[in-house]
Assembly symmetry: C2
Homo-oligomer: 350 residues x 2
DNA sequence: ATCATTTCGGAATAGGCTTTCCAACGTAGA
DNA sequence: TCTACGTTGGAAAGCCTATTCCGAAATGAT
């Protein structure tokens, strides 16, 4: 039978009184303090705590200790499978260390991102993890860097995911190499004439994947015609629109469309289908990320696997590892080309 | 140029000293206090704060005010699009109220759920939101109810999503009615012979949808043969396995498979395809939830739309609305049948 | 010009917890 | 039996902020 305190939560003070011990003893009993307390007392305190439904006030603990037990995570859009997979990894990694995750979404706005970092910093989290690729360009990030630096100066850790340009630790994906290898694999499957769908100009992830892909093709003396590269938002709808644009421009001769992310590839496949060029029969499509959904669309999507959940876990580990204390370190996770039904072998003479 | 405090974050005290005012004045200047402070002072304080990279300590504020500014959200699995869409809504709703969201994942384990509620309660969040349907059954939830009751007794708000059995406020989806309507629509499209895939027995969401569907068919004198109902985990793989089981049992005559969730339906489509019964030509498939992905699979999935993001927002609003203070209230959100390519019209005589 | 009000800065207290410091106790060694 | 030392409980200080309570200054009215 739980009590009915009606109003204020039980405090440690209440527990101490109920157990007939001092505050200090109660505190030492209920958390793993360095000092021992007599088993009799321990027990009395625990019983009293149970009786009062006591739950330690984490905020008060944070104030007293000067360190909270949270990890702050910023994502562009939690409903996007790319980010939600990373978030799952972050949550798992944090939990392994007994930390709680607080999350905020930036909606891909730098202004919001800055604002959120400001707010989140107030939580005094142990770590702030930023995902979602930044825009290139010199000055655009100054305020953010200043804010993050202030945070690290006071003992906080910052980890960037998939972003190496800012002076902080990072978990990065070798987008360039992955895309390059993808291009090679596709060439070997017989593809020769390509189109590409990128993210907004200046988005680094998109840029790296695009140039990796282009360089991979260049190894075989192939170039993508500039008219066959379109750009859109880094979303399903962005991919849809970009593919429509390709159709308008005319891609009759094109055999395969490479989209720089799976969500864009999925949108593109829908647009292509509506435009009468269904994959895989009329045109092939490849993506990047290997989000869970890539397996289940029809045709299943050829893509470059990133161990998304591992990326999230690694970010937490990196932040908390001692080496990260002294200097910024970068962990690179590998990628793997995954060939599925969306890019069948090209018949000779096609 | 940010300072280099090297160690401890600047405190309000530091700001006050730097600005040459009292602690009280600094506090009143930096947050929207009820009392006014002279513009000169305000300015001085703000400048000092900027100079010191001051960021208010949210934990300390929470202790001083006796109320934190966080919302705690529990989901089964954040990588599942159903939950990540709801989470997006919760985050948006919380942000509208200036609240921060902390998230934890239960992995569908009651034990973990209880444990997490205990931990989260320590945050003294304004609201705890639980998603993921509970299992039916009398006593299994006692400990959880006790914990949540202790929380509400001390002024916290609890909101359940898609769950009406526990004595707390809830945002519920009319699963029964939606499934029933779906059955009617499918009947009108000409379907007569059905199979169904459910979640684990005892999972309420699954049960409601299954019985709604069955009742909808019963209105037209149709029943599903017991052999044509299988169950699996509430995941993509669960749907895959359940569909395989259906194939084994033999569903030659079946025209349409209804899965109680879209993720299961997606898994089922894959299994059916592998088994030589591709949708929509060889068999039709319908799901429930209308996750974003439902649009993009091929064939696009007929399903019952739930405004997932709205559900999340509503949960926050409900928790914070004054009416919820006095008694537990239930908000029901409507559903809408969405017909897509996975359930084409049945040719007469088929 | 005087008195009643209002305005607003500052000192002090509260809030829940951790931790340092002190003192009392018990044990062991001589 | 006496001293030295390690244990362990308790009192109190400290963490950072909000807010109450005072008092002084400024304002307005008569």
């Amino acid at each position: 039978m739980p009590e009915r305190p009606k109003t204020a939560p039980a405090t440690l003070h209440d527990v101490a009184r109920e157990a007939g011990v001092s505050l200090a003893t109660a505190s030492r009993s209920l958390n793993g303090s360095a000092r021992k307390v007599n088993d009799d007392y321990r027990q009395r305190v625990h019983e009293a705590a149970a009786r009062l439904d006591y739950s330690p006030n984490l905020s008060a603990q944070a104030v007293a200790k000067g360190a909270s037990s949270t990890v702050a995570l910023l994502v562009s859009n939690i409903a996007d499978p790319y980010f939600s997979s990373i978030a799952a990894g972050v949550i798992r990694g944090a939990e392994a260390q007994g930390l709680i995750v607080t999350m905020a979404v930036t909606e891909r706005s730098s202004a919001r991102e800055l604002q959120l970092v400001r707010t989140l910093r107030g939580q005094r989290p142990r770590v702030i993890i930023l995902t979602g690729s930044r825009f290139e360009g010199p000055r655009s990030q100054d305020a953010l860097v200043a804010e993050l630096t202030a945070f690290t100066n006071t003992g906080g850790r910052v980890v960037l995911i998939s972003q190496r340009e800012l002076p902080f630790s990072a978990v990065v994906v070798d987008n360039y190499a992955g895309a390059r290898r993808l291009a090679n694999v596709l060439f070997e499957q017989g593809y020769r004439r390509f189109a590409a769908i990128g993210g907004d100009r200046g988005l680094m992830t998109s840029g790296d994947r695009l140039s990796g892909f282009a360089d991979g093709l260049a190894e075989h003396g192939i170039a993508i015609h500039p008219d066959h590269i379109t750009r859109g938002e880094f979303t399903r709808d962005g991919g849809f629109a970009a593919a429509q644009e390709l159709l308008t421009k005319g891609i009759e001769a094109v055999q395969l469309v490479f989209a720089v992310s799976d969500v864009m590839a999925v949108g593109a496949m829908s647009a292509l289908r509506e435009g009468g060029r269904s994959a895989p029969d009329s045109i092939a499509v490849a993506g990047f990320d290997d989000i869970p959904m890539a397996r289940d669309v029809t045709p299943a999507l050829t893509t470059v696997n990133i161990p998304l959940e591992e990326v999230g876990m690694r970010a937490v580990e990196l932040a908390l590892s001692s080496t990260a204390t002294t200097s910024d370190s970068v962990v690179t996770v590998g990628t793997r080309v995954i060939v599925r039904a969306s890019t069948p072998l090209v018949r000779a003479g096609d």
